[in-house]
Symmetry: D2
Subunit: 372 residues, 4 copies
């Protein structure tokens, strides 16, 4: 089978992460073959060339259109800033490329809808960069739910917290401007919702409250300016299945660094997960002997797909970047038409964004809102 | 100072716990003196006498009125079932007794209001049995908040979970009948609200969702009957101070045994607490050196009031029953007119119940509800 | 059955703790009856009377001989300083009293031997205050071992650490004088050895190293003086059963407050315990499904003897003082001739002290030493 | 600067891990350049060619001598079985190649000495694969020790446990044969000793005990055969600095998957580390306010070298394989003559093996043994 040609647009945090994944995927998963790192685009030719050298791409260009036009490129990794997603994605799909696009899809829901429509018509494979769904722990949790290991799930709580916006001394920046979106809802809510999507399905209705820990911040010219986005959002949800759930996100949560915490309660047990320790999960089973029931801390290992491709010994730990390698493997497998792949495409991604907009609307209107 | 004469009405879980507290309080806190365990009432004379002997009371009676009429009794410990609270409390106050009443106040809000009114008019000391507010960890957390150690608090999340109702095989019982109340809101929500009351003040408005993990249960005669109460409740709240908060309670949460989890986020740090490990709390401070910031697990010890009265060495651990001894000490101190006591009286208790009723109303009406 | 008359000698940390236990035991364990707190001795009559009032004893005396001579006293709680243990214990046994003696038995092994001999000849019940063996978690661990739940135990590691001696600024005091004993071996090693005694049996041979974190300290008159005792001791051990084990103790371990950590490895699983969280233990079982194996944190509850006597709900937590109440219950039961009681008597206590002396000898001689 | 040409000998667990590191190092650390994966050797030509393709090497050969003779190869990654280390290492050094050799150096101490001698004479850079020393947490711990953050270190405890040999049903294999070495001492003790080497220096004397959890195992032909190696080893140590320390290793420790646990006690604080959660460490400081002292769980992030090269956001977690990328970066830097690199070379490696042999000797002789 022909090895895949890769184009990369953008070389920041996520661009570097995609490059690492493309370079490493074949060495980890032999079946993934040897992707050819063909063409990288950045904002100007010189920077693009430097990054191409650093990241191991054959060529660098100052215009993303060159990447899309390159016949050596089969799949485009799109890691440019969000406001360019729609234009580039539509162009890549129109040019017959597969697409690996960082989340979220686009600032406006209308653009996201257009992207989803284009993807559907193109017949190409599209993956959004929701890599938290890829960890061995989350996959094992999914398997446990599928086999009803904790019985019927009757309640779900999910939180996502970091502290990058917690410092009151951070100057006013674009993320405090309403043009950047709602705040924590965009930055964070989408990630837990990707887990909800994979593990539990669609959200039916929501009621949301939001808060600003810091009402004002100081601008570059020393003025105090009102912050227009919300670092905190709290949501009560009902899923289409009827499941009661809550979602809480906070980007000003001192001490939290990459926490996505889930509590999944069932009729025969409970599952706990925390992304800050994503190489483990906790499981409580009523099947255990009464005097021995307790939450087990299960360290992931070769028993948990696809850990063994990385390390043959259990409990040694994967890294965040390696989740992206798994995502890359899934993308390649789907391009090749393999069954059973796990990805958030534009359809599921659009649903996530629809849910986020419903949350924001609920806050504005002050009551329950149906997602559809 | 004269030692206090004690009457106890009821001898179940909480009755035994009150008796332990009365017997132990003087040995732990020398200033509390030596309460005289004077008179115990139970449902019949023989059982009352047995219990009196077992618990160390001088006398047992089959009628609670005898306890209230007993001139040796200065304070009545009221641990009878909830439906008798109002009648007994009003009688005790009318007889000039101080009152230590288990929570909640009464099944109906009207009764609770009457009790609060009577207490106010009586001039007697009244304490509700909200003992979770008494632990050294919660007191230390309060002290940290008072001195602004984590800056301005901007978000609060609080949960209370146990699993005593989680088993689908539990037969239909009185707690599944709507006459017993709302479910988790009454059983659990009041406890976290007691912490909110002591640490943060009053709740202004709420929106609540509730859920039933088990829609039906089997009655004693083998029929399936619809469960009428709600094991799960989730609430978005705004406090009178403007603080955004959430409250989540679940009495069907497998694996949780006595969890009251609080996350308190501030502008300079974060405090975490979990009642299942109530001899410790966690503290994150931005005042720490950047490369050394992390959540500290602080084991309580003699530095944390009133641990030292129990044990001179740190980290050895208090038990649940010992929180009741602290509560008893506070009650005695308040009766003696000492300053700085910490108790939930009928006023604060009424406010907690008002808040719970607002939550239930919100669920029925499907939107935000003001508490007052 | 006649209620037991209690005499207490000493009213410090442990004296207060014994008093609490005697006062509370009957209310917790109905079968324990109502001990009569008859007579308390302290260093002078006035202080003794104050303490008697505070602790609820009928009478106080300035001479311990008065307690032993008191016909109302059936059992003597001996909590005076160690150097008085032998004289008082021998006198109490000679007077036909049962004895509850705080550990260690006596400063010299010869005295301890005399005490053990006297106890044997007296036919009276003797209990040493090794209360860590009494917790529901340790009892459950014992039950698991008895039923071979983790298979054949093949390795044991046990540590005891606190930090009360860690501060270099603590002035030179009697515990730094060689007359006080070896140091951590006396203060701490005896506690883990009490667990070893109850769970695994006798120690056969040892090799020991000791260390001084602080070579000198400042005396009251401002001089630097060499510290003569050892805050740290590390021991390799073989039990009579052949089991390989290690023991590590450190009374200068900053951050440790009451840690007794055990790791018990077997052919089918592992058990972990930490006294700082003694209301839980951890259990790993190979009987679990492979992808679900992990350490369970089991919170103790009514399933774990004798938790239910204190609290009917699981996971609510006992306190350190309540371990003493259990010890007191065991003592009463043994006095009454009940079967299955768990106590460290003078025989087992002597064996523990023999083992400690062997450790010290090993350090002096620089090699393996047989305990017997 | 010329990019480095890489030869890889062996393609098992560690071979794959080296290949990943060589492929990824330039994308993570731009300064590392773009190593050329030139030549891979395996046991036959076909397998070598398959692996070369899979791992991204230009060429594969069935004879390791071809790799060493290849002028495109500047550095040899040596991941063949231990018994071949000496021959290949000596040949590579003789051919003027730098060497990255998996641990341990060689089965016999004489071979290891010869390797160290050859390395010294060659002037080439040699690195042993002790990658646990490379994590951001261990580096931060080193920095804290260097600046005396916890004062004078006065005690060290270190453990390494896994359970790969714990199952009694594992058939007798080469690791149970005395020809494979001592057992846990070779497999595990060297890793903690690499941390001791980097953080605390050389070991002066030891006393060691060893144990066999499983005395016999079943051979392929169904016979029971005595196990000749020791899964458990326990050691008391004194370092050349005088520091008292203990080392405990167990490869039959059910539930432990990759645990290397360190407790470092100092005069002003304590540091704890566990490799199973190597993205964090714990720190207790007496500099904290008394009522707030506790162990902080510090999640590593960009503040901790060299985390930031992998991920710009804190707390997201590195994986085990990424420690090897850091090791590779250090190797390249040392080849380039950069200062401040952290590696275990043959000199330090020889010292580690000398220490292990002293431990084994101590067990045989039954007493303390000097390492030199």
């Amino acid at each position: 089978m022909k090895d895949i040609g890769v184009g990369l647009i953008g070389s920041g945090f996520m661009g570097k992460c995609h490059a690492m994944a493309w370079r490493s995927v074949g060495g980890v998963f032999a079946a993934a073959g040897r992707p050819k790192l063909a063409h990288l685009a950045e904002v100007n030719a010189e920077f693009a060339q430097d990054r191409a050298t650093e990241f191991g791409f054959e060529k660098g260009s100052g215009d993303w259109r060159a990447v899309i036009a390159d016949p050596k490129v089969d799949v485009v990794s799109l890691t440019a800033p969000n406001q360019f997603h729609a234009e580039i994605a539509l162009a890549a799909l129109a040019a017959g490329k597969h697409l690996w696009c960082e989340k979220p899809m686009a600032p406006s829901f209308a653009e996201a809808e257009a992207m989803a429509e284009a993807a559907k018509n193109s017949g190409k494979v599209v993956a959004l960069g929701y890599n938290y769904i890829q960890s061995p722990a989350i996959r094992q949790i999914g398997a446990l739910l599928t086999e009803n290991r904790i019985g019927v799930v009757n309640h779900l709580r999910i939180e996502m917290d970091e502290d990058f916006m917690a410092d009151p001394e951070i100057p006013f920046n674009w993320k405090h401007d309403a043009k950047s979106g709602y705040g924590a809802l965009d930055d964070f809510a989408v990630h837990p919702l990707s887990l909800v999507s994979v593990l539990f399905g669609r959200v039916a209705r929501v009621v949301c409250d939001m808060a600003k820990p810091h009402a004002e911040r100081t601008t570059a010219d020393g003025q105090r300016r009102a912050v227009e986005t919300w670092d905190i959002a709290n949501v009560l949800m009902r899923l289409e299945s009827g499941l009661s759930a809550t979602l809480q996100v906070n980007r000003s949560a001192w001490g939290r660094k990459g926490r996505i915490s889930a509590q999944i309660f069932g009729s025969k047990g409970t599952i706990l997960f925390d992304q800050e320790r994503f190489n483990e999960f906790q499981l409580y089973l009523t099947a255990d002997r009464p005097a021995e029931q307790g939450f087990r801390t299960v360290l992931t290992g070769p028993q948990h797909e696809p850990y063994a491709a990385f390390i043959p010994a259990p409990g040694h730990g994967l890294g965040f970047n390696e989740l992206k390698i798994i995502e890359c493997r899934e993308l390649i497998a789907r391009i090749r038409g393999e069954a059973g792949t796990r990805l958030i495409g534009f359809d599921e991604g659009l649903e996530i964004e629809r849910t986020v907009h419903a949350m924001a609307l609920s806050f504005q209107e002050g009551g329950w809102v149906n997602v559809r």
